[in-house]
Symmetry: C2
Subunit: 186 residues, 2 copies
């Protein structure tokens, strides 16, 4: 698939068919995530592929009430839990050196975008779930204290397609020239 098509067509999918996402598909998706850049190539990401329905249920139970991704997380055949080692990105010898904390969030974001684009190319839908109880998820999955769950991503074959994603702001609303607030696009 063309890059442009993947970027424009990808949207968040919250309804899946009962198609079983294969290990090969998961591997291709994670190979894409792996190629993302990161702070000093620290690659702070880790992934837990959850197939076990009991574990999926426990994780979904930590979602915010009325999280619109609850149903598709429960029904998916593979829930990818994206974790990050906390003291690599934005750090030197384990100590934060950036003004902005949690730099791993940025790196994991880049890897996750690759993941979602690649899944879309394979005909698979994804949705990124961040509104959950990270502490509880860490406990459920046995994540060590120097690491944390960041998001979960249910993966599946989209039940419906062709639906438009939510609208985006126009460039003129958020692109400036040389200083903040100075119009770039005329």
């Amino acid at each position: 698939m063309e890059l442009q098509q993947a970027i424009v067509e990808r949207r968040s999918i919250r309804r899946f068919t009962d198609y079983y996402v294969t290990d090969d598909e998961i591997t291709m998706i994670l190979e894409a995530a792996r190629m993302a850049p990161s702070w000093a190539n620290t690659q702070p990401w880790e992934f837990i592929v959850v197939r076990d329905k009991t574990v999926i249920e426990k994780i979904t139970d930590t979602y915010s009430p009325n999280n619109p991704a609850r149903k598709c997380s429960m029904s998916c055949t593979a829930l990818i839990v994206v974790c990050a080692k906390k003291n690599l990105s934005g750090c030197k010898e384990g100590k934060q050196v950036t003004c902005l904390p949690n730099w791993y969030m940025f790196d994991v974001g880049m890897a996750v975008q690759n993941l979602c684009l690649k899944a879309h190319e394979l005909g698979l839908g994804t949705v990124v779930v961040g509104f959950l109880d990270h502490e509880k998820c860490n406990e459920i999955l046995g994540v060590p204290s120097d690491t944390t769950v960041v998001v979960t991503i249910p993966v599946g074959k989209p039940e419906v397609s062709g639906k438009q994603g939510p609208p985006r702001k126009e460039l003129a609303e958020f692109v400036y020239l040389n200083s903040y607030g100075n119009t770039f696009i005329r």
Copy 2:
């Protein structure tokens, strides 16, 4: 360009020719960034395209000493400064609702990955610079207090190409099944 090619071939570029990156190219790159998903579609990103050499110099002066992106930032014809509104992503009515702060870092990471992939397709190189003085950059660019610079991205035609990027960990090193530490790939 095929998505797979873009994902695999893209690498961080720190040496540019004197090619002038056009406004059309910048627009295409930012259109790609714009299509990224974000927390509740809040699209917390903003971009300042810096063409003014004096401003570029001031921003580069805030980089960490010996930052390997200093030279290419000084010589580039367009320095894209990526900002984020701080109280949208991961927030409800301006109040943080996630366990992890600074959720905008994650969203901006996703948008930046689209940006870097699209630039690569256009034959342009990028490198993401995060090790800088964010407070000073905010001041230089007149960024309001509810917003912050996150990264700068010098853009240019790569002077050399075909060089391999730094190696990535193997999937077996960071992918688990059902719980942390449990091998996924055999």
